[in-house]
């Protein structure tokens, strides 16, 4: 394209530097995109750190290290790209970063991480803080033994150190990563194939002798401790369970990794490898690809626990999940191994025990079959001996012991527990697992608790989306403005469920809506955030006045007026267990160098590399400067004859088009100008459709009735632009057939649209950034909020900070991409005059509403309001 242009424009002498201009654009744009990409990655780290700083989520030192390294990396990558774009005028920033990086390293090194060298750890040496080395399941079992002092079966954890040395010494990490490169994200079959290959790689690799010996030795010690080693002809079996660490894996991916019961000695090593390989099942790979979790962030520890030849086993709740108001312990029990108590294969015996240890009731069922270990490994079902079928599976003494365990566990963890237990032949009762009781799971199986007397019942029956109890003053939300004003600790009441409610998820104690869907996006988020949520109440907004204090019982789908004391125990306690730990304090200190933003005003003389105190400052500065550099580049282009086409178009827009390839047809091109018909770039065409929308053109010369303030405004609009505004009313579109980077500057407004539109849905995106404006700060902020409101309604995800908005729409079908770009074009036209109208908070709502309804006539909009 460019070469042809040069040929046509014979009058112009070619110089080598001009010849390389197209490459220069493309290079600088690739830098700019890398910079923006790192900017958003960086902001994700900030958000993540801020969440962890709340102290509610558990994390270890490996989290602190990877996150701070990630922040440094992306800040560095941003600087490097700005430096490249600007022809190395920002090298000073490297030093600034280096200094902050040193401070961070100092803090990290001050508490040298005790990176364990043990391949194996017995439970007596494990506690909950060792989650990085042994995973959640093991850490929890260790805590029960070493800190609560309750019996768990003998066993040990094969640590993540063993995992790492296995994968590193055999080069598996690298082999696996290379395999993963063959995955085509668009083709699920490749995921399946690569999964098979990777698992085969792991299973066929040799476990290093040191690890094998350590496992076998630990096993031998275990056998020695238990009766098995001593009586000939008996062999100890173990259960081997995955205990993974890594982002989300415990939470959202529980149960997906392999666990095996009744593993004989000769299969220990193979089973170990099988469990590690289960990190690479197709669903696990797909899950991580989706969530953007890197392999670096995951590790697998394995729990190796003596198989209890249980006479009886079952599940116990430290509080009645059938009726959460009843503070009694419920114990279920079957003969043989535990799975039958959980799977519902047979009806278990059910014992109800008071917290004081008295048995309140026992329901003994007919237990005809039981599950036992097979001598050769694996499990099998056998009939229960005739005389035991109808006998209670637990003695009174057993029940009292178990109830004691339940009390201790609930006390230690500070919330009701769901406990798995087993009784061995010697009459010892073991805890196999303990986790917080999730009453909503139970709620599905059992009828709801009875209505509580003594409190006005506002809503009798809604559909539970996410269980739990929440108390607080009602706050009605009907617009996004309401969301912005949403107070901490309130109960959200709305007509519809909406994903936008996610904005306030952290502040809300409960959500109640008139209409809504249990499968919607908001529902998923509510469950993720564990917010008690009821939808489809039909009447919530009419029966609950704003400000009224209500208790939401989302287990039963009810709302009471006032505070229901009986339900208080199930409210989120608000305890922040992490805040007391040394790991938390280190994160706090490191965050001081990463998270705060001091450089707020680009116009201030302090807005300079030497004033950067945090990584956030650096990223803000680099981001700001990168736009300036890109605009400089655009000006440079437009100054070169023949480098850019002027687009002749019947709208007040001074647009220059730079084609990187196949974005323009060459039919009827005049020397330096083209018409919209010449544009073949899919995204630019769509955007132009919006920009040239006829409704705007009709607006322009329509006589309008003015009300008082409008005339003042009109005067402002007509007054001559300031020097700064005159300077650059130019817009630039850098295009190819599928690509568009559109930057425009109107006065102080910057807006940049970057988009790729193709038939490959996964690659499609629109990113829209808008910044600045001649109005005062409040108006600027109102304007970006109005833009955000509009873009959200168009299904963009948005981020507003100060006078800047970043919005993104991605991975949608081509026709949807085109439709959205059309709207973005209209929105750009709409915003050209918008800040003049941002006279009060209500204008946000009014302008957004009118835009979405297709009323683009701003003057008329104001005249009507």
């Amino acid at each position: 394209m460019f070469k042809k242009l040069f040929k046509r424009d014979k009058s112009q002498k070619k110089s080598p530097s001009e010849n390389s201009l197209p490459d220069l654009f493309r290079f600088k744009y690739s830098c700019f995109k890398m910079l923006l990409d790192s900017n958003s990655e960086f902001l994700n780290v900030i958000t993540d750190l801020e969440e962890k700083l709340c102290g509610e989520q558990v994390f270890g030192m490996s989290y602190v290290r990877t996150r701070s390294a990630k922040a440094v990396f992306h800040a560095l990558r941003m600087i490097k790209n700005l430096d490249d774009i600007s022809g190395h005028r920002y090298s000073r920033l490297f030093e600034v970063l280096e200094n902050i990086d040193l401070k961070i390293k100092e803090i990290l090194n001050r508490k040298k991480e005790v990176s364990i060298s043990e391949l194996i750890l017995p439970y007596s040496e494990i506690n909950a803080e060792m989650i990085d080395w042994v995973g959640g399941k093991n850490a929890n079992l260790g805590e029960i033994e070493s800190r609560i002092g309750l019996p768990i079966p003998e066993g040990f954890a094969i640590t993540t150190k063993a995992f790492e040395s296995f994968l590193f010494s055999t080069d598996l990490f690298d082999k696996v990563s290379k395999k993963k490169m063959e995955i085509d994200p668009d083709d699920p079959d490749t995921v399946k194939k690569i999964s098979d290959d990777i698992r085969e790689l792991i299973i066929s690799a040799d476990v290093p002798p040191a690890i094998e010996e350590a496992i076998m030795l630990a096993y031998a010690k275990l056998a020695d401790k238990t009766a098995y080693g001593k009586s000939p002809g008996t062999f100890m079996r173990v259960s081997m369970r995955s205990s993974a660490i890594g982002e989300d894996s415990e939470l959202s991916f529980a149960g997906q990794y392999l666990s095996k019961l009744n593993v004989p000695q000769e299969q220990l090593i193979t089973t170990y490898k099988e469990i590690l390989a289960s990190l690479y099942t197709p669903s696990a790979i797909a899950y991580r690809l989706n969530k953007g979790i890197r392999d670096e962030d995951i590790a697998m520890s394995v729990a190796c626990i003596q198989m209890v030849e249980s006479v009886a086993s079952g599940v116990m709740y430290s509080r009645n999940p059938l009726n959460i108001l009843e503070d009694n312990i419920i114990i279920t029990a079957v003969w043989g191994l535990g799975p039958y108590a959980v799977d519902g294969v047979i009806t278990p015996d059910v014992y109800t025990v008071g917290k004081d240890g008295r048995t309140l009731s026992s329901e003994i069922s007919r237990k005809t079959v039981q599950l036992i270990s097979k001598p050769e490994g694996g499990l099998t079902e056998i009939p229960v001996a005739d005389d035991l079928v109808e006998k209670p599976s637990l003695s009174a003494e057993n029940i009292a012991v178990l109830a004691g365990y339940a009390r201790k566990l609930e006390e230690h963890y500070g919330c009701p527990q769901d406990i798995e237990w087993a009784l061995d032949r010697n009459g010892t009762l073991f805890i196999l697992q303990s986790r917080p009781l999730r009453a909503e799971d139970a709620g599905k199986r059992y009828p709801a608790s009875p209505v509580l007397p003594g409190y006005p019942l506002l809503i009798e029956k809604g559909v539970t989306v996410s269980g739990g109890i929440g108390f607080g003053p009602a706050f009605h939300v009907s617009s996004e403005d309401d969301l912005l004003k949403f107070p901490d600790g309130a109960v959200l009441v709305a007509r519809h469920s909406s994903p936008k409610i996610a904005m306030v998820m952290k502040k809300t104690r409960a959500i109640i809506t008139d209409k809504g869907n249990i499968a919607g996006h908001m529902a998923t988020l509510a469950r993720e955030f564990a917010i008690p949520t009821i939808v489809s109440t039909d009447v919530a907004t009419s029966v609950i006045p704003a400000g009224m204090e209500v208790t939401v019982d989302a287990y039963s789908g009810r709302v009471y007026q006032g505070k229901v004391h009986e339900l208080e125990v199930f409210q989120k306690t608000g305890g922040f267990p992490m805040k007391e730990t040394p790991v938390y304090r280190i994160l706090r200190e490191i965050s001081d160098w990463i998270v705060p933003l001091y450089l707020l005003d680009p116009a201030s003389p302090d807005f300079a590399p030497s004033s950067c105190r945090t990584l956030h400052d650096i990223s803000r500065l680099v981001h700001e400067f990168s736009y300036t550099e890109m605009f400089k580049l655009s000006d440079f282009i437009s100054d070169k004859k023949g480098m850019a086409f002027k687009l002749k178009v019947n709208i007040p827009l001074d647009l220059y088009v730079i084609d990187l390839g196949s974005g323009v047809t060459e039919k009827n091109i005049n020397l330096n100008s083209i018409s919209p018909d010449n544009i073949t770039s899919v995204p630019l065409k769509a955007l132009l459709n919006g920009l040239m929308n006829r409704d705007f053109q009709q607006n322009q010369c329509r006589p309008v009735e003015f009300k008082g303030f409008l005339s003042v405004m009109r005067e402002q609009m007509l007054s001559p632009p300031s020097a700064a505004e005159r300077f650059g009313d130019r817009s630039y579109a850098i295009i190819s057939d599928k690509y568009l980077n559109f930057s425009s500057r109107v006065g102080y407004h910057y807006s940049v649209i970057d988009s790729y539109c193709s038939r490959t849905v996964n690659m499609n995106y629109i990113s829209f950034s808008f910044k600045g404006g001649a109005a005062d700060d409040i108006r600027k902020n109102r304007r970006v909020r109005a833009i955000a409101r509009i873009l959200q309604s168009l299904d963009f995800t948005t981020e507003v900070s100060g006078d800047r908005i970043n919005a993104r729409y991605q991975k949608h079908e081509l026709h949807l991409m085109e439709e959205k770009l059309d709207f973005v074009g209209r929105l750009l036209q709409f915003t050209r005059q918008m800040d003049m109208l941002m006279i009060n908070e209500a204008s946000i709502e009014i302008l957004a509403k009118n835009f979405l309804e297709g009323n683009y006539n701003l003057e008329k909009i104001i005249a009507c309001n």
Binding site: R26, A69, F73, D174, K180, I183, G661
Partner: protein, 138 residues
């Protein structure tokens, strides 16, 4: 987008794992790159002494001298080679170290050959522009 230039990009691919290296080399050749491959950092350095390259893709984890060290030595021999570091499971610290040592970028696997190709072209353009800068100063 169109290819960076009609000029053929001379690429050096350094990776110790033969299967992976040859597959990737073939795929990149099919996209009209002039690809030379090396099975180790040592070999790469030897080759660079004899032939000029525009871009090098270097795997971080290799036996012998590792990717970061290879990068540093390559840059010493020819500062105009743009280096893309490729890595599966290396710490992000290696990425920081790499960029500080003059790598163009750091690509975390898995990535598609398409993505890699775009990176190679961008790196190539950077090389051209940086060379222009250097010549301008001379």
């Amino acid at each position: 987008m169109e290819k960076a230039d009609t000029q053929i990009i001379r690429l050096l691919l350094v990776d110790d794992e033969e299967d992976f290296r040859t597959t990737l080399a073939n795929r990149l050749k099919r996209r009209n790159l002039d690809v030379t491959d090396a099975g180790s950092g040592e070999e790469a350095i030897e080759i660079i002494g004899k032939k000029s390259f525009d871009v090098a893709i270097i795997d971080i984890k290799m036996p012998g001298i590792d990717g970061i060290e290879t990068l540093k030595r390559v840059k010493k021999i020819d500062p105009h080679i743009e280096v893309i570091l490729l890595t599966g499971h290396a710490s992000i610290e290696a990425g920081i170290e790499g960029i500080k040592s003059g790598a163009y970028d750091y690509v975390i696997k898995p990535c598609t050959v398409n993505d890699l190709m775009v990176k190679v072209e961008d790196a190539f353009r950077r090389g051209m522009i940086e060379k222009g800068h250097a010549q301008g100063k001379e």
